[in-house]
Symmetry: C2
Subunit: 457 residues, 2 copies
């Protein structure tokens, strides 16, 4: 019933739109439909994951990724292609292994967390202190874990909107520091995974001065079962290194507007990835979606405003958002709107538009284009954009948030399983269609999100 | 409609059964219902996978497995517990790695196949010759793959009865030899997996004198995508060793019959496992199901015939079936029936009984007990039992085949993902209930499967 109401409202909006918006409606529908059968996004994702593969900030692979990005922008007809270099701290994985020494020997499947310290050469062996929830760890007094390897095995539930990640990720990001504060000599955490495969999921953590790694879900459960029998001793051998000033790159390509080229729509995904997979859903997908969408938005004729696609260069280890703002701060007042695609390749099911903009003819045209894509427009303004546009947002840039179905995202995220085969080409195309319709309507209208937000107050 | 007919037939069978069979019906129902809420099988599977873990033939872990088996039989009240030692050829994995050297570097996720040769020290690097079907490889003339690493990327479809394994497993078992015959210096095969995780699935293969390994499904697809671009060079570095006479053990426990103890029902699972997982569905589950079923079959009062559970010691690398027959050949004429549980922990959905036995009152009683378990009895006699009873079958022992739902089995089989968490306790219990009802009815009747088969001819 609810869907019927929404469809009727959308149809009404189209009928009620003024003549100039009817052009927007027709154009948005055209680029949308073209996007649904266009292979550009798939080709971009396939190319990046196959020809470059995993690409950690500061790694040789990222140098290849940068060159790939420049070449791909040019190949697709983008102009003003440029590389904005910056430096940022980066962590590099070395050899890693973990095993249960007793009561029964077991190899453990682990992946070191970003900013993990190395163990002493030859490893360290210690008894574990296992906590089935992160809160249990936090409840331990300072010094109580002296000499122990702290283990947190709290599970992560599957959610369509990905919100569970926000509730459990402190066990990865802050857990090492909380464990070290209580005297632990090492930290193991059940992966922030919604899957049950024997693959650990890495990710960033606060530097804590102790080795810290993620366990695959079955390994976390094995430790639980062993711990029920008594003392468990684990050997960790982890090496890594850090570079406080690793080179990194935001790579930019544009489709210049013909009437108001200095008014810029900024969107993109991030080029860097964690190392175990090939960075397909995180975030070759976002790179592919936004690049293809920009190209398709321009496929129905010249655009009035400029569309700028940014392949941000260090989302996972941080730095690209601040660097992008620093390099482009003077331009912010002319940035019409910003957005990032960094939630995988699942289909968009709802979107949030800047406050006060929903009834503007351009957004009404956009909303009309969304109906066959099964996307609804939320009543509230977006709470956050992607990590790479946080700098732009803090400087006052209006932004959108397109909510993707993340039901399977955390099966794959930061794990060896993040590979091309996990991207569904039809779902990828639906994302491109949503973004292309949005870019088309904004680039061909005079919508002023800042002004609309002011009026809405 | 079909189900209704089957249910009606089963009900009719119960009504028509003679008085002594009514006791069998009631007893079978009793042990069945007890099995459904009994925790023995789960506890056995948890114990084996946690306290022993993976257990390759000839490994120190298998020595621990043998001791575990003896202790577990005794703990559960089995008698005549004994270890039948034999020797068999065994292969042992050493360090393994594989990577794409060009056109773009990629680490590959591989697992050496049983009987794989080692590479030269430091590895070997060669161009790949990629075939998307096994037949394509077979179509190549002798000598045509000289100096190449042959790669077969044929996919395996998911089937409920596991039959697809039979259609594709030649690419693993015979592929290395076929590749070597054509001059290949190495062999990589897409894992016989129905899943899409980055975990390769190992397994036995014919010795071929070249290194041979399984690729994870995403890695096989990566090689396909790279190969479309031109020449692909891969470096393999694999070490392993073999022992032509590794020690192995069939471990036996009995519940002795009180009236005709020399008439023996033989069933079991295999204790050995491949090394990447903890051998949970393959085959701690079978060990757990058959051990628990024997115990439950005896829980409603003394049994007339003997139930013997065998934990066969070398199914994966071969040897336990022949060794068991050799050590027990004199007893075969008194072996009433044999069965093996080696298809994971999925629920039983159909069973095949020896020819001519289905209308015997004991089997009618068994069939009546199956109705609430949603198991149907097939019209045809079983075509094959498990690998470990092949020897007994060849010597004329009647046998049964209980078909389990294997829809997920080949997601896990021979892979690191074969861990305890993949066993569903309710499905495990349903297996125990089926076996317990079968054991109860056979052990408490005078059914003679050999005679019934003769009469059926």
């Amino acid at each position: 019933m609810r869907m019927t109401t929404i469809f009727a409202a959308a149809a009404l909006a189209v009928l009620a739109a003024p003549a100039f918006a009817q052009d927007l409606v027709a154009g948005a529908a055209q680029v949308r439909d073209r996007a649904l059968t266009d292979g550009t996004a798939w080709a971009v994702a396939e190319s990046l994951t196959t020809e470059v593969g995993p690409r950690m900030t500061g790694s040789p692979a990222m140098e290849r990724g940068r060159d790939w990005a420049v070449a791909k922008f040019r190949e697709l007809g983008f102009t003003n292609v440029r590389v904005e270099r910056f430096t940022t701290p980066a962590w590099f994985r070395g050899p890693e292994s973990a095993e249960v020494v007793g009561p029964a020997p077991h190899k453990l499947h682990i992946l070191g967390l970003g900013n993990s310290a190395s163990t002493p050469k030859g490893g360290l062996t210690a008894e574990i202190a296992l906590f089935r929830s992160y809160q249990e760890l936090l409840d331990q007094p300072e010094g109580s874990l002296k000499g122990k390897i702290a283990v947190v095995t709290q599970r992560m539930p599957r959610t369509q909107d990905g919100s569970s990640y926000g509730f459990v990720n402190a066990q990865r990001t802050q857990g090492p520091r909380e464990a070290a504060r209580r005297g632990a000599v090492g930290y193991l955490v059940r992966s922030l995974s919604t899957d049950d495969t024997r693959l650990p999921h890495t990710g960033g953590a606060q530097a804590a001065g102790i080795p810290a790694a993620a366990l695959s879900p079955p390994d976390a459960e094995l430790l639980e079962n062993l711990a029920r029998r008594g003392a468990v001793r684990v050997k960790l051998d982890m090496q890594s290194r850090s570079d406080p000033k690793a080179p990194a790159y935001n790579i930019v390509g544009e489709i210049r507007g013909t009437e108001r080229p200095d008014e810029v729509i900024v969107l993109g995904g991030h080029l860097d990835s964690w190392d175990p997979g090939t960075g397909a859903v995180d975030d070759a997908a976002g790179i592919a979606i936004t690049t293809a969408a920009a190209k398709l938005a321009a496929s129905a004729g010249p655009l009035k405003r400029t569309i700028r696609v940014v392949m941000w260069g260090s989302e996972e280890q941080g730095g690209s958002s601040g660097a992008y703002l620093a390099a482009n701060r003077a331009e912010v007042p002319k940035m019409i709107v910003a957005g990032e695609s960094d939630s995988g390749a699942g289909r968009v099911y709802s979107i949030a538009l800047p406050a006060g903009s929903r009834s503007h003819p351009a957004m009404k045209a956009f909303e009309a284009a969304l109906v066959p894509l099964k996307v609804v427009v939320r009543r509230e303004a977006p709470q956050s954009g992607g990590a790479d546009i946080a700098g732009l947002i803090s400087a006052g840039t209006p932004f959108v948030d397109f909510n993707q179905d993340m039901s399977r995202y955390f099966d794959l995220h930061h794990a060896a399983d993040d590979t091309l085969d996990k991207i569904d080409p039809a779902e990828l195309s639906q994302n491109v269609a949503v973004w292309a319709a949005f870019l088309y309507t904004v680039a061909n209208s005079d919508i002023d999100f800042r002004q609309l937000a002011k009026e809405a107050k």
